[in-house]
Subunit: 271 residues, 2 copies
DNA sequence: CTTGAGTCTCCCCTAAGGGGAGGCCGTAAC
DNA sequence: GTTACGGCCTCCCCTTAGGGGAGACTCAAG
């Protein structure tokens, strides 16, 4: 009366692969109606297709085999099913939230890298004279080695977070180049905000400036400084303090990148 | 000069477990600066902490070890990095989309199950007399066995999809109960829509009705029918054709559920 | 000298099957 | 009669990113 299907036929009917069917047999969630003693051949009844479909559905909904087993245990009893569904729902929701954060971070990184690449493409690496707009910054005055400025940026980043709207800058208050006991400010352009601890918010003045984009690691910056200062002297300008360094492209959020491709714009306001 | 860290110290500094460090060593993405020949002890340089952090970041962004390996191969070369980032971004996006569909489906199922449970809780299973509102339905007239109506519902579901706004119903056009060659319509309440192929859209009339909610499998429906007809006779009403069956709760989208808990409301319009 | 903490390698385990080897069975073609 | 083919079986290894633990070795302190 009831026709039994071979595993191949059942596979076609249920859209589950042979491997999967054997696996489900082993796991006990879909046991063939009959297993021939001598050959071990599996035979399924047509009515088991329905159960196979249920399992497929549950699997698509993200339930593990173990969970499916539990769920099918109380096949008619709906007591815990809602709870299980809800916990799975919460789980998926959590995963979506996580993934969206990741996605956001990836997008940020991508735009940043692209921006830097574009920058690299249309930078001339020649001395330029241009008018600079005023810029509102959050600045932390520091003393020591220039390379310590990272901590200043970190502190500003922590406080001003999403208000930051430009590349990090360094103000050199010393008239000359100093190795060890330099007087400088780490600062970031911001859209607003108030003073906080040792971070001051103020506006850098506008004005005519002589600038040069330096390409390469930071320890070769001096070459570009000298080039700029020579130009300023030859043109008869006088440079105003502090000079500015804008870190157009440095070590990224993830990759250090190649220091030979770091870009730093040096700006001297002149009159 | 350069101090080397034992794996334990490096583990604390990098926030990667011992197991993970050994694994990354094996995979070649974070090879200790020095491995002592005799003992096999691993020693890391402090500068490797930075690389460890890069790896952590990439791992958090969902990159596999294999991908991290590729990415770190061209540590300075940024040529392919954007492409990799973008493909990962697309991948995450796809996963989010998938998960949200799953989440939606789960939510639908949950509300449905809850609704059915509420229904079960406040149903009286007594004969009631009530006034029935008119209801717009999409109906497919069929002939055969009642149990074939599922295909009718499927057809209507395919055509009217999101316009469906009620429980599936059956109209019995026969005056009497027929097993085999019954004349009935499978129909679903809809918010609108036009006739399509053999699916008609029309309004079921309002009126005074005698109803009874039947609990149990469909093959015991006759008991409730007889109870209702006896009541109608004893009250001196005359029943109008077609009678209606409303499938308040039947086999769910996933689970068959327990047929003993199926709920079906039988409605006879009377005058 | 001993002890405890740190480290090593090696082996097994995860979830949900996929891939393939080698063997058994029945049928159809030659 | 035989051979080829197709369907089925079991058994074993493989995948990710490490976790858990056993047994052995090393290092520093008491």
């Amino acid at each position: 009366m009831r026709k039994l299907l071979s595993i191949g036929d059942f596979s076609k009917a249920s859209q589950l692969t042979l491997k999967t069917l054997r696996f489900y047999h082993e796991k006990g969630i879909l046991v063939p109606e009959r297993v021939e003693a001598g050959t071990g051949y599996r035979f399924y009844s047509a009515s088991q297709i329905e159960r196979a479909n249920v399992i497929r559905q549950l699997r698509d909904l993200g339930f593990s085999v173990r969970e499916i087993q539990d769920l099918l245990q109380f096949a008619g009893d709906e007591h815990d099913i809602v709870a299980e569904l809800e916990s799975k729902h919460a789980e998926v929701k959590r995963r979506v939230a996580d993934d969206r954060r990741t996605q956001q971070r990836l997008a940020t990184i991508i735009t940043q890298v692209k921006e830097e690449r574009a920058l690299m493409a249309d930078t001339t690496f020649e001395i330029e004279e241009k008018d600079i707009e005023p810029v509102l910054v959050a600045a932390k005055r520091m003393r020591g080695k220039y390379s310590d400025c990272g901590q200043g940026f970190k502190a500003i980043g922590k406080r001003f977070g999403f208000k930051i709207n430009g590349k990090p800058m360094l103000l050199c208050h010393d008239g000359e180049y100093k190795e060890d006991d330099a007087d400088f400010s780490a600062c970031m352009p911001v859209s607003g905000g108030a003073n906080h601890d040792d971070i001051e918010v103020y506006e850098l003045p506008a004005g005519k400036a002589v600038t040069l984009v330096h390409k390469g690691p930071y320890d070769t910056l001096r070459v570009s400084y000298e080039k700029l200062l020579a130009h300023i002297a030859s043109e008869g300008y006088s440079a105003k303090s502090p000079s500015r360094e804008v870190y157009l492209k440095g070590p990224g959020m993830i990759f250090q990148g190649n220091p030979n491709n770091y870009l730093t714009e040096i700006q001297f306001l002149v009159e």
